[in-house]
Amino acid sequence: MIELIREGYKKRSLQWAISLSFTAISIISIASMAIAFYSHSIRTIRENTIKENGQIVDQVSWNLNSYIRNMMGISDTMYYSVIKNTNLTNEKISKEMNLLYEANKDNLTSIVCATGDGAIVAASPVSSRKAGVDLKKQEWFQKAFDEIENIHFSIPHVQNIFDNSNYRYYWVVSLSRSVELTYFGSVKEGVLLVDMNYSGIEQMFEKVNDGGVGFVYLCDSDGRIIYHPRKKAIYSGLVMENNLEHAKHPDGSFSETFDGEERDVVLKTVGYTGWKIISVTPASELALDMGQMRNYLIMVAVIVLMLIVLGNYIISYVVTDPIRKLEESIAYLEEGVANDDVMNEEDIFIGGSHEIRHLGRTIKSMIRQMKKLTDDMVREQKAKRKSELDALQSQINPHFLYNTLDSVVWMIEGERYKDAISMVTALAQLFRISLSKGNNIITIHDEIVHARNYLNIQKVRYKNKFTASIDIDPAIENCATIKLIVQPLLENAIYYGVEHMDGEGEITLRGYEKDGDVFISVSDNGMGIPEETLSTLLTDKARSRGKGSGIGLWNVNQRIQIYFKGDYGLIIESELDEGTTVTIHLPKIPIEEYRREEGGK
């Protein structure tokens, strides 16, 4: 996998690599930052929530304490100020009880004073007792005697003492205590009951639970629920609460996992009663509150990320674009070199930062030097080739000179002094043209004059064994040609074509223009050239072949191709027993134009 990524990375552009690397780093950085910030926020919010819940619990505890103390105060007042040491028959008990009830009836359901055997001594408000109700069997009554000197607090229950009209019933929390009743001097055991309205406690907690996260509930020291916002659902088994565990837990805050849910719990015990106020905050409710912040955080992170990605892209573009352009210009140059185009250092891109510009300039300088070296090399090669051909050309002269002088010697020996004079004159003319003031390029006219002189010499030498005709289009006479290219062809036509034909040999020299080019052909009616020989005449092997110097045709062809390039050179056509035609193919360049161009170079 890593190898694949590495390979993929290598294939991509520098800009892509820089952009991707920076983007990846940015994503990791921003994601880490966002996660850290989010985690920190969650922790902070959680801590703050626990703190707030702690304050709420303290507040509720204070309120509940006040409420309970108030109720205990009623019980104490009733007992210590009214019942104790007062004869049961005294009307004062009922009167004081009614006064106390009236003063606190918002929080009270009833106040009852009963004897130890369950008989009601006094009650407020006055109401008819339910038939068949045995107070002794009720929990509050029994607990009062279990906890003498203490006030017992019951859990909420439906009051079952008085008959209420309209099918009403009252949920109450009973404060019961054992009391001493005085009856005509004797002291009896009795129970004083103060039934607190459960709705008072309920309202206190409902206010706290109205809004905000989590909930607060109340249970007694045994974990029996006194108030819970879902108490009915808990009683019905629809909802679970960890009240039994909470009851055992000391005051403070802690986290727990209950019923698959993580929750923060704050506990506080209410003095005297042992009741516990418990604040529970499920983590899922905190998460709901965090949802909006999380969304905003994601949005901000993504916006920042987008801007960074865009910035990365622009910066990487600015940084890498000059490199890319430089690379493209080098590739363009490479392409040109591959296609044999001229290397042009001006195509090299120079731009961007100073490092890239320096690189471009260095490459440009290198190309310039390379170009100079290449040109020098080509020039040297060309000069070398030329000097080689000049050496070849110079080989003609002794070759021809030997033959001509041989003929002159032969004429003088035969006392043909006129012919000898004529021949030496022609030879002189021949050399004059050969010299041509050192120019290799002469007019076709001069070349033909040269050829004619040569033919004249050879005719004398070969005692007119052949006839020669010359037909040159005047239109091409002023065109440029390489000197001494017709004479070797005439020489070949004589040596290999008509030498042994005893006066029947014919040599035709023609010059004409065709398709904008110049053609000079030398034809003979000799025996022709065998095909296998024909195919090698213009190859390198021809240099070491045959009579004389053996270098005529190859030399001429090479010289034409060096000077004029392209498709120019010799064309050889031959048929056995019919004859041979060797045609020189030259570009049609007027001599003035050629000299002008040469002068320009």
């Binding site: 019933y169 879902r230 009915k232 659902a233 019905s236 629809l238 969304n295 949005m299 916006i303 890319r324």
Partner: protein, 324 residues
Amino acid sequence: MKRISNRPFIGAAIVFIAFIVIMLLQIGGDEANKDEETRVSMIVYGDDSERWENMRQGAALACQDKGADISLITMLSENDAAEQEEIIGREIEDGADALIIAACSSERIREYIDSNRIKIPIIFVETMEQLSGKIIDISSDDYRMGYELGKEMLDSESDIVTVAVISENTQRDSVALREKGFRDALSEGQTGKIINWSGNEYENLAGTRVFIQRSVVSEATDVIVTFDNSTTDALIDALSNLNMDRKVYSISTSNKAVYNLYNKDIKALMYPDEFSMGYLAAKYALDRKDAQKMYSGKEIEYRIVKKENMYDEDNQTLLFPFVN
């Protein structure tokens, strides 16, 4: 020279804009959701909303958990199926997101629901037999309640008592099943004469009460049995009017029945947990998957309560709703 491609810029811009739009839509959606609270309608029979208070509280608690709103809709009469059909139709038109129905006539309402292809969730409270599709009912085992009430009566009364069975409101499958269970229990034991007081469907409590008064006066009985709230209340009123005492065995959740359980005629009261019925019905109405996960296979509890045990801690919470 190659020109720089615009595609990455365009791509980034599209992703960026799409993200912003999605976020705004989501935030907007959250705001809209706050405004448009899910509304659950609880359509019940009878005109006494107090009778359904316990069930409403259960449904309200479930709705509160889900941030939904619950409204209790009663009828003008006890058994007018046409009226209940009209209410159902009107609630759907008014945009209720789910319906919890206590059908006054099982057959009629079942047919109405089936024929109208209602697309919102519908949950029946009380037994509805032969429900089609995804419609479910949340109820106690009515047959079992009737059967156990019969067993209780057999155990408590002598073999020769005359038993009057008031067969009212049997157009409701729940009542019919309770009665069937009770009669099956009786057939397994020994009693005296069994009298059937049935065949009359009265539109209001007064009509039923008069019918029962006449029946009580005309036929001597030791025990009278009822299977629903309104009939039980009518019987209590009838006995009170006549100043007559009878042993009553009843399946009811009315305050009157609870009051009379201690003070007067009712010897045994079969009391289903309507709070749980309402809670679960709303749970199913709002999130069936969640509800099934939590409460699949859970049966609605019922208890047989007598004077002696009605103030027990467990029974108190069932018989006396906290908010009075």
